[in-house]
């Protein structure tokens, strides 16, 4: 198992109840979001999110390395 830090923003943070957590996980980012969505009951499907690793946009089939910082990006509403 790989330990990754996950950052939550906006409605994801409200649902998770924390703004970050460290989780043990194997597999790609899509699988990671699926597991965390089940755990926290996130309303947003993966199709409506983007994802980043270590502050740069990533692909859903990327596999985060040990100690990576993963952020799930809900639809944005700046401006």
């Amino acid at each position: 198992m790989t330990a990754v830090t996950v950052l939550y923003f906006a409605s994801l943070r409200d649902a998770a109840g924390v703004d970050r957590e460290t989780v043990a996980h194997d597999g790609d980012l899509r699988a990671l979001y699926a597991a965390l969505r089940e755990r926290h009951g996130f309303a947003l499907p993966v199709e409506r999110l983007r994802v980043a690793i270590d502050g740069a946009f990533a692909r859903w089939d990327d596999v985060p390395g040990e100690g990576a910082e993963v952020a799930f990006i809900p639809p944005v509403s700046g401006g």
Binding site: A10, D14, F57, P74, V76, G78, G79
Partner: protein, 143 residues
Amino acid sequence: MTRFAIADAPFEIAPLRARLLRAEAGAYASFEGWVRDHNDGRAALGLRYEAYVALAEAEGARIVDEAFERFAIADAACVHRVGELAVGDLAVWVGVSAAHRDAAFAACRWIIDETKARVPIWKHERYAEGDAAWLHPRQPGEE
């Protein structure tokens, strides 16, 4: 000076504008987004913006870099607020200088559109009726 910044407190426009002045620039276009007292037909009391700051500043800088490739501009910058904002507060500012007004207007419009579509910033609105909500709008073309 980075050309895209996230600000966690009110900021002054005048020094940002002054940095865009160029002897070869005859045109300056700017855009400001202000907090409105309503949104989608609901009375709003204020809002909170939250950002993934590291990625927001990187993506915002990419947007301004792309504006230089797409438009004949002299300089450009954008600053977006985060934190608690009241009705009338400045939420975002974009400024563009260029030799001619076509490019200044087009680049200014493009930067605010791309910022709204791509930069990881989220708006949490408080409504007059007492509830509040994160806005996670669908982008044009999103299913």
